[in-house]
């Protein structure tokens, strides 16, 4: 007796399952039940004698949705079986109204889970034939790993969220459908002109958008206006250049704040501050050219300027080293231990509230640049990707979901609930009209910083296949500088390590 697992509906095995369920007598219960991972949890099969029915539970069941999922699954099986063998042809005729189920995996934790569910629920209301199963699948890294495993196992989600640094890897992964391709195939063009330029240009590679920006942010300077006043600094005039920050820090230190500036140890700030000088992070058009990037350019003048200033402040006791991780620097700001912090633009609400509790007022400013630098910021965060698995109906549902999530209404909800930018300028206009920025002037700073960023390959953001590893290398290098290594040496060594990693990645990705 075989244990039958429903994977690709066109495989022969599923036909057996289909046949067995036909043999079941009418007074027996239905034969197939699927769980959230599209895997068989209960099945009936006959033994060698006759239609004696056994029931085996593979996975712990959940609840009532079983029957609905079952019906949908059976409905899906039929056309899928007929479509077997025809998968090569581009399905021009897609039944846009047939009931279809897709899965959407994301990495947004905490209160964001409900927020996303709310947006998806709205989408399902507008598209009654589409059922979207949303799952929070852990961190970005966990989600990506889960997607990789699922693709190999044959039960990948149709839509998933990935972080910015996974972009080049996914472009070359062979498991995704670029959103522009899907939009073209189903004749649902996306109005990219409506989008903020840096937001959409990050995910555009050689003229094509591969994923849909979803949760975008930039770094921002937050400062304690009340403490600024105490130190004799102008609270309405945030420091803009490296020298300004230093001056403000010195003044704050004199006013009694031991180490007045901090941000968490994250390579993101380093990358952004290179962008601000309109310098590339890697070669070959910042990783966006025809050739894959082969050299890290972080040890040039731009990189050196950043670290000389950053590490210099740490050495002079103006900068507090709170390590990596996103909580320590926020805590230090909110407790008043520091008066200036750099963090994600999505922290506006959190930090304003935190300061208010202590009776302090918060200000925001653009992130600092060396004098004369003329670049802009790039976005960070995540985007939504489509896997190239599933039926054409599922692909259509996926692109519809992705398009919906990027539209103004859900994006405004998302922005208000999380602080991430809404991806379209049209959404910003709506927010403006509704008076949002009068109530929340600190948000306006972030938007303006984005709008003031000139468009270039550098501000589009760098693309590397080994970005996670590169970040780790850079972060370690900065710590080594804290411990005494020279900035140039640390950068040179890091660049060499990243070059080696990229070289290996470039060969492996082509095999």
């Amino acid at each position: 007796m075989e244990i039958l697992k429903q994977t690709d509906p066109t495989q022969k095995r599923s036909k057996k399952v289909f046949e067995y369920t036909n043999k079941i007598k009418l007074d027996q219960k239905a034969g197939l039940l699927y769980n959230d991972d599209q895997q068989l949890t209960q099945y009936y099969y006959s033994n060698s004698n006759k239609d004696v029915v056994f029931c085996k539970k593979i996975v712990k069941e959940k609840k009532m949705k079983r029957i609905v999922i079952l019906l949908l699954a059976v409905t899906m099986l039929v056309p899928a079986l007929f479509a077997a063998g025809k998968e090569e042809e581009k399905a021009v005729k897609v039944d846009a109204d047939a009931p279809v189920t897709i899965e959407f995996w994301h990495a947004m934790s905490g209160t964001r889970i409900e927020l996303i569910q709310g947006i998806v629920d709205e989408f399902m209301k507008k598209n009654p034939n589409i059922t979207v199963k949303v799952q929070y699948t852990g961190s970005y890294n966990d989600t990506l790993n889960k997607v990789k495993s699922a693709v190999k196992a044959g039960n990948a989600p149709q839509v998933f969220q990935s972080y910015d640094v996974g972009t080049l890897g996914l472009i070359y992964s062979g498991i995704i459908t670029p959103v522009d391709d899907a939009a073209k195939e189903f004749n649902l063009p996306i109005k990219w002109d409506d989008f903020f330029t840096p937001v959409q240009s990050y995910y555009k590679y050689q003229g094509k958008h591969y994923s849909m920006p979803f949760n975008s942010s930039t770094p921002l300077i937050y400062y304690n206006k009340t403490l600024f006043k105490k130190a004799g600094l102008d609270p309405e005039n945030p420091p803009k250049t490296y020298a300004d920050i230093r001056k403000a820090a010195v003044a704050l230190k004199k006013a009694g704040i031991k180490t007045p500036v901090t941000w968490n140890l994250h390579s993101w700030y380093f990358e952004q501050m290179i962008c601000l000088q309109d310098a590339p992070f890697v070669n070959n058009d910042n990783g966006r050219g025809k050739e894959l990037p082969t050299k890290a350019l972080i040890n040039g003048e731009a990189g050196k300027k950043v670290l000389d200033w950053w590490v210099g402040m740490e050495k002079d006791g103006l900068f507090l080293d709170v390590g990596p991780g996103w909580s320590n620097h926020r805590a230090a700001f909110v407790s008043g231990e520091v008066a200036m912090v750099m963090s994600s633009s999505s922290d506006v609400n959190l930090l304003t509230k935190g300061l208010k509790e202590k009776g302090w007022e918060m200000g925001t400013g653009y992130i600092p640049r060396p004098e004369g630098a003329k670049g802009g910021v790039a976005i960070g965060g995540g985007s939504l990707w489509m896997t190239n698995t599933g039926t054409p109906e599922q692909q259509l549902a996926a692109i519809k979901l992705i398009e919906y999530i990027s539209s103004d209404e859900p994006q405004i909800k998302w922005h208000k609930g999380t602080g991430y930018f809404p991806v379209r300028k049209t959404a910003m206009d709506k927010l403006k009209t509704a008076g949002w920025f009068e109530e929340n002037p600190n948000y306006l700073t972030a938007f303006n910083q984005l709008l003031d960023s000139p468009e270039s390959l550098n501000t589009a953001g760098a693309l590397l296949g080994v970005f996670p590893e590169a970040r780790s290398i850079i972060q370690s290098a900065i710590q080594e500088c804290y411990a005494g290594k020279s900035v140039q040496q640390a950068l040179d060594e890091s660049a060499a390590k990243i070059d080696a990693a990229m070289a290996e990645w470039n060969t492996v990705i082509k095999q």
């Binding site: 992964s173 498991i175 709170v322 231990e337 996670p468 370690s476 710590q479 411990a483």
Partner: protein
Amino acid sequence: MKQSTFKADVLPYVLLLPTFIILIVFLFYPAIETFRLSLFTVHPFTGAERFAGLYNFKNIFTNSEYLHSFGISFLFTLAVVLLGLAFSMMIALLLNERIKGMKYYRSFLIWPYALSPAIAGALFNFLFNPANGIIGYFTGHRTWLTEGSTAFLIIILAAVWKNLGYNIVFYLTALRNVPRDALEAASIDGAGPVRRFFSITFAFLSPTTFFLLVMNTTYAYFSSFGLIDVLTEGGPARSTNILIYQLYRDFFVNSKTGYAAAESLVLFLLVVGITVLQFQTTEKKVHYQ
């Protein structure tokens, strides 16, 4: 004493079958497969393999980060083993004295064994945290976890702390078997407590010491992963990036499957080598009854 046995043809194999099925599927096969993968480069998404011979190994041993990790792990293990055995032996000796309340003392000293390395990491993270660590307050030194050298000391401390209980239990049990008459005889002969300890007790403890050497070595190389992940994540500046942590990063985060497999093989050879070495050097010194 010759053990009587039952006569049966198939039964023993049937009894061993479940164990060996599991061992083959989940132990031997993956181990061999991992070693095989170390000779290939693997595509991070599709899993496509390309034979690469010793390429991964060359990469590992020319990678300064890996070599650094190698050295760190060795020092870490050495410290954890020596300190762990020394402290637990001392405490076991104290516990072995017949005093009132021994049972209570014992309970309160060995219970950290029941904790996980991750919990130990969380607790020590709290104690030494740069923002609000208590130890930082009392000692005035706040950068325990953000400075490489001190972070390394902290992970040793946490690892030793967590495993003390385990070592103490074994030493206590072994101490019970130290024959009192031998000690009494030596005492009558005029040997002081220190002399008595080193020539008699220590000898009787040597099988246990040897056993614990091996167990603590594997503990330090492998089980401390949770501790590192919660406490320092391998930082700062890779100062606590022991081999198992680097392996995890390379496999799970950086998706360098072949490379990580090579790291696994090296780790395996390392631990086997250390164990064999311990076997050989201590075999002479270990006294069995």
